[in-house]
């Protein structure tokens, strides 16, 4: 179904918009939050792309990113907390 790829484009655009927050973000926290959101948007774009390509095996990547994407964020949080 063709509209899936439009959804993917839309999510990619959103991710691009978030890069503005990464650029501007006055503190590291904002950048980390934006990075986390970009990770999630990437996951959604991957889902949408794999259903567009009609290959279920593509979903493994989205699964990996969804499960492990938060590790980096939590680690950054711990770093900021000062008790890594």
């Amino acid at each position: 179904m063709i509209e899936f790829v439009y959804v993917g484009i839309f999510y990619a655009l959103l991710a691009l918009m978030l890069l503005y927050r990464v650029l501007k973000g006055p503190s590291v926290v904002d950048r980390a939050v934006a990075a986390d959101s970009i990770d999630i948007l990437t996951v959604v774009a991957l889902i949408v792309f794999s259903i567009f390509s009609n290959r279920s095996i593509y979903l493994d990547i989205a699964l990996v990113l969804a499960i492990l994407g938060f590790l980096g964020t939590v680690l950054i949080a711990r770093y900021l907390e000062g008790r890594l």
């Binding site: 390509s53 009609n54 290959r55 279920s56 095996i57 593509y58």
Partner: protein, 116 residues
């Protein structure tokens, strides 16, 4: 589509080399090496891409008779390259930690006991 990729790869590689050449922080230099890696991996995958092809993994249910594969060889090469890149990063970082312990600084201008 592919032309954009090639340009992006070259820009990535150039950015990485720019970091290696100009930044004085060793950790930043290693980040630059990572960027060069990204650029080259992207270049390899872009070379193997066929417009309209699908992933070179055979499944019964989802492939239509007319589908064809993108070139699998560059993907294998890129996997190796990614593995090597990860190893380089890990090794360089462990060296950085040791250097920081020994020299007390990460400034490339000061890590120069061997010269001349």
């Amino acid at each position: 589509m592919i032309l954009v990729n090639y340009i992006a790869c070259i820009i990535l590689i150039v950015l990485g080399f720019y970091v290696i050449l100009t930044k004085k922080n060793i950790l930043k230099i290693i980040i630059g090496m990572g960027l060069v890696d990204y650029g080259i991996n992207l270049l390899i995958i872009s070379i193997g891409f066929n417009p309209g092809g699908t992933a070179p993994i055979f499944t019964f249910s989802e492939l239509r008779p007319e589908s064809f594969f993108v070139d699998p060889v560059p993907q294998a090469l890129t996997l190796t390259s990614i593995v090597i890149g990860a190893c380089v990063t890990a090794m360089a970082l462990s060296l950085v930690i040791k250097i920081k312990e020994k020299y007390g600084t990460l400034d490339a201008d000061k890590v120069r006991r061997l010269n001349g």
